[in-house]
Symmetry: C2
Subunit: 317 residues, 2 copies
């Protein structure tokens, strides 16, 4: 098992969906990522919170084996996001963002964390993501996430970042926007020429795609009858993905494909309730059971001989 | 092998996409379906064409083993559709529809066709689809397609139809519209209570879902770098699906899953060129090769023992 250093946000989120709403629920990319990853791996978190962030949430993370000694507590308020989802749960409408203590966040990686073998750079300013990479010591695997705001505002910094990471996570709109290419396959190929070996494209309720220069892997989303709140689904996906990779400690086509499925499994649970509430009651048996359901969901028998098929029109006419 | 009776439209389509355009290209739901199915099965077509429909196209179908003796030629013009696609190739904008001879089409199933074991009712007025079922004799398998126009205009006739068919094909927007349910899984469950044993939900570039009361199967679309024209993709999908089922002659969970993949294979080829041009140069080897690529695209190893995973948080806290 390879411990994971994660750098990202901790936040309060007020979220409204067609199925209910929550006020100032616990959130943030590093929080979702760490809780999902903690089922598989040991985490070291670097983030910033304000005076208003509850110590009980840090305790909750500590109880899951997450090292929160790198979480800075600063005077002021914690990052706050307010958003709303309609029936199209793939797209959030941001109503308010208060950066608060996050505005002046400069990630400082404690000495004890600098040799962590796996690094996940959650969605923050790509200049800060690069600053993290300048502090860590020869990580075996670096993955990053980003968002439309940075693609729009700092595309060349992102390109610098992509040259230095192994795995990039993006959603499909972001991949198209960054590559300036409407076709998703060509957009992916273009991003892979910049440096990363693997690109994971998240497609919300449609699942996800894993691209390398040599192959493509497609995984569906788990078909859910009730999706309460998609907030944090992408970070939870990345957490399950990186957590699984960390638990097996090797990065191969086989382990990456399984990692995508574990990412999908964790994300599918997370959207079943607001905030990360569903994660807190989740157990190993439920994770493995849903992983096997993904197998049933996608399995078909490959035909190698096709003995039974009459291919009547086997030559071009 | 179980021959297939298909009833639907034959048409001229003028189509514009970001990648080019064609004027009065050959099209129609029954045409696309039959050409795709003809790789696997023997087809009997029932449709109507005008005086302007080229005999060479009927010859092309005959050469592929399609029985076109049920295609009526009537005085007047053939059905004409003009449409346009933007970069979002999932949604066509209809610019013009001329029903022409199709306006008074009443499908008459020739006596020689009435005992065909498999029946596919392509997208036409559901009252006509029911008229077809009243003429055929105990088919083993009946499948139907439909569209938003009929869901809007004749929902109760569609419900009558669904009670009498085994497999319904819809796209995801149509399934949500018909079931009046935003969640796709719940929409599917609702439609399955009406009678059909299986529901295939087409999701364009995102693939497709096969639902029964007991299971769900998800297949991706083939990741293509160039999609020239999605016209006819749904009918080609249904043609590959039904053609494969027909070639194996049994309808089981296993054969249906493979049928979805063969449908996806044929549809993926069809969108590579305008009209059904790509189908005409396609051969068996290419079909089987792409089927195997779908296997590589979706395969991951199921974990049964998970010996390598440390699930650290295995009990709820």
């Amino acid at each position: 098992m390879k411990p994971i250093l994660v750098v990202g946000s901790m936040a309060f989120d007020s979220v409204e969906t067609p199925f209910g709403k929550v006020e100032r629920a616990l959130g943030g990319s590093a929080t979702y990522f760490s809780i999902a990853s903690s089922f598989f791996s040991e985490l070291k978190m670097v983030a910033v919170v304000g005076e208003d962030f509850p110590e009980t949430t840090l305790d909750l993370l500590r109880n899951r084996g997450v090292d929160v000694s790198g979480v800075q507590r600063q005077s002021g308020k914690t990052f706050f996001w307010q958003g709303k989802y309609g029936y199209d749960l793939n797209a959030a409408q941001t109503l308010e963002t208060q950066l608060n203590v996050f505005e002046k966040f400069r990630p400082e990686i404690p000495k004890s964390h600098r040799s962590t073998p796996y690094v996940f750079l959650a969605n923050i300013d790509p200049e800060l993501q690069i600053q993290v990479l300048e502090q860590v010591k020869d990580p075996e695997l670096v993955a990053c996430d980003t968002m439309n705001f940075w693609i729009q505002g700092k595309p060349s910094v992102l390109t610098d970042l992509f040259r230095r990471v192994d795995i990039v996570f993006m959603n499909e709109g972001e991949a198209r926007q960054y590559a300036q290419e409407a076709n998703l396959v060509r957009a992916a190929r273009k991003i892979l020429t910049l440096g990363p070996e693997w690109l994971v494209i998240k497609q919300g309720e449609y699942g996800s795609l894993l691209f390398s220069k040599e192959e493509v892997f497609s995984a569906p989303a788990y078909p859910l009858e009730k999706i309460y709140d998609p907030t944090g689904a992408g970070d939870t996906f990345a957490g399950g993905f990186m957590g699984y990779l960390s638990s097996v400690g090797q990065v191969t086509s086989t382990s990456l494909r399984k990692a995508v499925v574990f990412g999908s499994v964790l994300a599918s649970f997370n959207v079943e309730d607001f905030s990360f509430n569903r994660m807190l009651s989740l157990n190993a048996e439920q994770i493995l059971s849903r992983y096997r359901e993904f197998e049933r969901l996608t399995h078909f028998h490959a035909e190698t001989e096709f003995p039974s098929i009459r291919l009547l029109n086997s030559t071009p006419r």
